[in-house]
């Protein structure tokens, strides 16, 4: 399998697109769950870039970093979803624009 001849440039382009989408989602959505999803997208794009880079050099390191990114994403999301639950309970909404008691 594999043996695919794709310019690295193109994979990175796709990763960039995903990354931009993630950022756009972060800026656009008010719902905390969607924000977390956007984060996932961004992390995923980085993972894609790493794997592509590893493939380019024929090294396992890209995949290993992908593995770590996976654990990072898991840990962040776990805590993040815990926060989602608490926010829903305390603020009665997930709209982060409402949660701006801290400012100034």
């Amino acid at each position: 399998m594999g043996g695919l001849q794709i310019p690295l440039e193109h994979v990175l382009l796709i990763a960039s697109c995903l990354f931009s989408c993630g950022l756009a989602g972060l800026m656009l959505r008010r719902n905390l769950i969607f924000m977390l999803m956007s984060l996932e997208v961004m992390l995923n794009s980085a993972a894609l870039a790493f794997v592509a880079a590893g493939a380019r050099w024929g090294q396992p390191d890209g995949q290993i970093i992908f593995l770590f990114i996976l654990s990072i994403a898991a840990a962040e999301v776990a805590v993040g979803l815990g926060l989602v639950l608490q926010i829903q309970r305390r603020f009665k909404t997930l709209d982060m624009d409402q949660a701006n008691r801290l400012r100034g």
Binding site: L23, L26, M27, M96, R103
Partner: protein, 611 residues
């Protein structure tokens, strides 16, 4: 001469003692101390004078080196020559009499101790002034007498007017003093010393007659003299200074301090001789002052103000004399003036003292019989002032007028002016005598002067009469131009003028031949009267040109204009804070957006460059 240092030290010591007692010294002790110390000083002066008269030997005494910086080494040192002897004698002699007089005059004042302290301090400073062998020490005395004058004019500090007069006296003279200080700087910078004798030697050595530097230096020194001696344009303080106790006016503002300017110029005559333009200016200033003050005196109502203007006028004569190079005549007039003006002031003081502190001459009158001693004193004093023949003033003023006459070129003009002044002097002196002592009584005296007052008056009467015969030991100290014999009619006119004035005064004020009242009632007369009553409006002019702008400026600037600059900085930082803090909205999406924005910029910049 060991006794020299005692002369200023004795008054200083007594002043210190009285000041240290903080006003708790018994009044008789203050009086004894005050009068006694001056008396002792006078005795010492007498000793010194006798020694000097015996051999005309200049006496010097160096106490210590005041400071020694680089080549600037002024010493606390005295130098006594003829001029100093004359001045010291006047200061301690007249001073002693006035102190004695003060005992009675001030006896009822609660602050008599303070009074004598200031007076003794003044005498000490004045003695330092005349005994100093260098200009810095002279300056010390010079400013010291100014400070004492300030303290004494404002002696009755409860009345804000007195305080105002005192401040005016100090500040106006300080203007002159500052000019003088600059003169000292110039002299030291150019000649490298402030010791009077080496200074004059060096000046003669390095400068030619008519050089710029001596003219500049003497002009600056003249500034000091004008201020202290109340000459135009710095004369305005003296009439106001009459706010002090009358003996103070007699001592400081008639006999001694105000003549310091004359002394200064005489002391430095060699320097002034190098600057003929300055001398000419001195002469003209003297002339102008004497005329202006005489006119003003004629329009006053306050007995002390009349005498004050008269003092200004008489010092104008002295300046006139200095200006024409008749230094000795000037000093001679200084001495006689000290006698008769002190006498007049003391007599006026006695009138005031006996008349419930009444100053207005038009509310006096008829005192000839009620206060005979005072009347006699006043009469003699006025005669001397008006230079009636054979009074002391006659001799001294005659000398001045003749010197002026012989001055090449401008001499006659000066002479004529002086003559006019003499006429006016005679008129206003006798106007005073006639109004105060003749006519109907307006106010009854409630007491007679006691012996402490009477004795000084008597002594001064005698001095005013015979003073003209004194021969001052000034030969060799001051140059005497020794004027050529002049035609006799000049002398006759000089002699006649005061008599003419007397007559006019008689006609105007006593004889009722010409109604002075109707003259005053006419619009022109009233305008002239008020013009001269206000001292030719010079005070008003200064007020408008200097005082008001200054106070206005201070009021305007009171709250620190420079702070506006710093407040602007503060405002800018606050503004920056305000602009930045609105970004902290607390909205998560905005924060994310700002981060993206930052990332965009960062990438844009690095890529633009590498592309």
């Amino acid at each position: 001469m060991a006794v020299l240092w005692l002369i200023p030290f004795l008054p200083f010591l007594s002043a210190t003692l009285m000041l240290l007692s903080a006003g708790r010294m018994p009044r008789y002790l203050s009086a004894w101390l005050g009068v006694g110390s001056i008396g002792l000083a006078a005795v010492c002066v007498a000793l010194v004078a006798r020694a000097y008269l015996a051999d005309h030997q200049v006496q010097e005494l160096t106490l210590w080196t005041w400071m020694s910086v680089d080549n600037f080494t002024p010493r606390i040192a005295f130098r006594v020559d003829g001029l100093t002897v004359v001045m010291m004698s006047v200061i301690t002699g007249v001073g002693f009499l006035i102190h004695l007089y003060s005992v009675e005059f001030m006896w009822e004042d609660e602050s008599i101790c303070r009074y004598f302290a200031y007076m003794n301090l003044f005498v000490a400073a004045m003695l330092l002034l005349v005994m100093a062998d260098n200009l810095l020490l002279l300056y010390l005395g010079w400013e010291g007498v100014g400070a004492c004058s300030y303290l004494l004019v404002g002696f009755w500090y409860r009345d804000p007017d007195n305080g105002r007069a005192a401040r005016k006296a100090f500040i106006v003279t300080r203007v002159g003093d500052t000019a003088m200080a600059l003169g000292l700087f110039l002299l030291f910078t150019e000649l490298g010393t402030l010791d009077i004798q080496p200074l004059m030697a060096a000046a003669n050595d390095r400068w030619q007659i008519g050089d710029t530097l001596p003219i500049l230096a003497t002009a600056l020194l003249l500034g000091g003299a004008l201020g202290k001696s109340a000459q135009l344009p710095l004369h305005t303080w003296l009439p106001d200074a009459m706010a002090g106790p009358t003996p103070v006016s007699a001592l400081i503002h008639a006999a001694t301090m105000v003549t310091a300017g004359v002394y200064l110029i005489a002391r430095l005559y060699e320097l002034f001789l190098l600057a003929p333009p300055t001398l000419a200016v001195i002469a003209w200033i003297g002339l102008l002052t004497l005329l202006l003050a005489a006119f003003t005196a004629l329009a006053q109502k306050d007995i002390k103000r009349i005498l004050a203007y008269s003092t200004i006028s008489q010092i104008g004569y002295m300046f006139l004399a200095l200006g024409v190079g008749a230094f000795a005549s000037s000093i001679f007039h200084l001495v006689t003036h000290a006698f008769f003006k002190a006498l007049l002031f003391l007599a006026a003081g006695a009138v005031i003292h006996c008349l419930h502190h009444e100053h207005n001459i038009f509310r006096m009158g008829g005192l000839r019989t009620r206060l005979p001693v005072v009347f006699l004193s006043f009469l003699i004093g006025s005669a001397a002032l008006a230079a009636l023949p054979f009074s002391s003033g006659f001799f001294s003023k005659e000398g001045i007028l003749l010197s002026a006459w012989t001055q090449p070129g401008i001499g006659p003009w000066l002479w004529a002016g002086g003559l006019l002044g003499a006429l006016l002097t005679s008129i206003y002196s006798f106007r005073l005598v006639f109004i105060v002592f003749f006519g109907e009584a307006q106010t009854e005296p409630d007491r007679q002067p006691g012996w402490q007052m009477a004795i000084p008056l008597m002594v001064l009467c005698v001095l005013s009469l015979v003073g003209g015969w004194f021969v001052l030991p000034l030969s060799g100290v001051l140059p005497d131009p020794g004027h050529d014999p002049v035609s006799h009619w000049v002398e006759y006119i000089s002699i006649g003028t005061p008599l003419l004035g007397l007559t006019v005064a008689y006609l105007l004020y006593l004889g009722r031949q010409v109604s002075i009242a109707s003259l005053m009632a006419s619009p022109a007369g009233a305008a002239v009267q008020s013009f001269w009553y206000g001292g030719a409006r010079i005070d008003k002019l200064y007020d408008l040109l200097l005082v008001r702008p200054f106070t206005g400026l201070t009021h305007w600037w009171r709250n620190e204009p420079v702070d506006l600059l710093y407040n602007a900085l503060v405002w800018m930082t606050r503004w920056g804070h305000g602009r930045l803090v609105v970004l902290q909205t607390g909205e998560l999406r905005w924060y994310a957006t700002s981060m993206v924005f930052g990332l965009l910029l960062l990438l844009a910049i690095v890529l633009r460059d590498s592309a």
